[in-house]
């Protein structure tokens, strides 16, 4: 004797309730109702994220005391690195001062104000390639401001502003595009994000670009995005692919600088 399972009815009600949930989500995310909820969430999540940052910091200290010898060796190494970096920074600061002086002489001396921000969450905690930072409309952010790492490397822009937090959209997010200039010849191109700090640029073959060339985002004070790491060209393709990666450790980033002028 064989048994046939009853044909299950098409779950109309469930599909409708699913659609209803999506409609509610659309309303929440698309209207000011979302802002009210977001403010409430901000109040709960900020202290928790901050507490995590502090506990990680103290865990780092405890870890460092675990091995005295290791600590001494590391200390020596860091001192040497710091010395080298100090020299490089001195050179860079001299050039920067000279740059400002020259711009002042031609009447373009107004440099964007900036604000230091702590990173509360990094990419990886969601499908969105975003950072959440601890400054918002309270300090005058309005959205669209550029976000830098260590004052020199451009990483993204402010996408959404809350009262005390903001979401930073990374330029390296898959599909995002940004205008760039490559190398000494300032070749203009569009860099497309490939996720996790990776970018791709397509330029016609024979374009004067070589590995190691600096890639800048054009502005009065050009900001660096990275350096050309690999150039891929095929004999039957009139274009070549330039691949590069942002030098910023996006998954370990703790602080960023937000330029207040858009």
């Amino acid at each position: 004797m064989s048994y046939r399972r009853d044909k299950q009815k098409f779950p109309k009600g469930k599909v409708l309730s699913g659609l209803l949930v999506l409609f509610i989500a659309y309303v929440i995310f698309g209207t000011s109702a979302g802002d009210v909820l977001h403010k409430g969430l901000e109040r709960v999540s900020i202290p928790l994220w901050r507490a995590e940052g502090e506990s990680m910091f103290s865990a780092g200290i405890i870890g460092a005391f675990q091995s005295k010898l290791k600590l001494t060796a590391e200390n020596e190494k860091l001192k040497k690195e710091l010395r080298d970096l100090g020299l490089k920074l001195l050179d860079r600061n001299l050039l920067y001062e000279e740059n400002l002086l020259l711009k002042e002489k031609v009447g373009r001396g107004n440099i964007d104000e900036s604000i230091f921000a702590r990173v509360l969450t990094r990419p990886g905690q969601s499908l969105y390639d975003t950072l959440i930072i601890d400054v918002g409309s309270e300090v005058g952010l309005r959205g669209g401001e550029r976000v830098m790492y260590e004052d020199t490397i451009l990483i993204g822009s402010i996408a959404e502003v809350g009262e005390k937090t903001s979401k930073v959209k990374l330029f390296s997010t898959f599909g995002e595009e940004i205008s760039v200039e490559i190398g000494e010849n300032m070749v203009s191109a569009i860099a497309t994000g490939h996720g996790s700090g990776n970018f791709e640029i397509k330029v016609p073959r024979e374009t004067p670009v070589k590995e190691g060339d600096v890639i800048l985002a054009p502005s009065l004070m050009p900001h660096m995005l990275g350096t050309v790491e690999h150039i891929e060209s095929k004999p039957n393709d009139p274009f070549e692919r330039i691949l590069f990666k942002s030098p910023v450790p996006l998954f370990e980033i703790n602080y960023v600088v937000v330029l207040l002028g858009k």
């Binding site: 699913g18 999506l22 989500a25 929440i28 995310f29 909820l37 990886g124 905690q125 898959f174």
Partner: protein, 84 residues
């Protein structure tokens, strides 16, 4: 009931602190374990509210996790019905 509340708290902290794949695994696991685990959808909404922003890769939709969790809720519900 107590286990469910504890699971919800763990998942809430997971949303705040752990990588996305771990949160998703926890949500799926809980959806299989508990009956009518609506928190799966709630978790998706929470993730989108905290981290969501319109991105080209998601066709400028800022509640993609909600869409995923709603779909997952019905898929898991269906699987549970079939294996019962």
């Amino acid at each position: 009931m107590l286990i469910r509340v504890i699971a919800d708290i763990v998942i809430f902290f997971s949303i705040l602190y752990t990588p996305f794949w771990l949160t998703l695994l926890a949500l799926i696991g809980a959806a299989f374990y508990f009956r009518s685990y609506y928190e799966l959808i709630g978790g998706g909404i929470l993730i989108d509210m905290l981290y969501g922003t319109p991105l080209v890769k998601f066709f400028d939709v800022s509640f993609i996790t909600t869409i995923i969790t709603v779909s997952l809720y019905f898929i898991i519900d269906r699987i549970k019905q079939n294996i019962r």
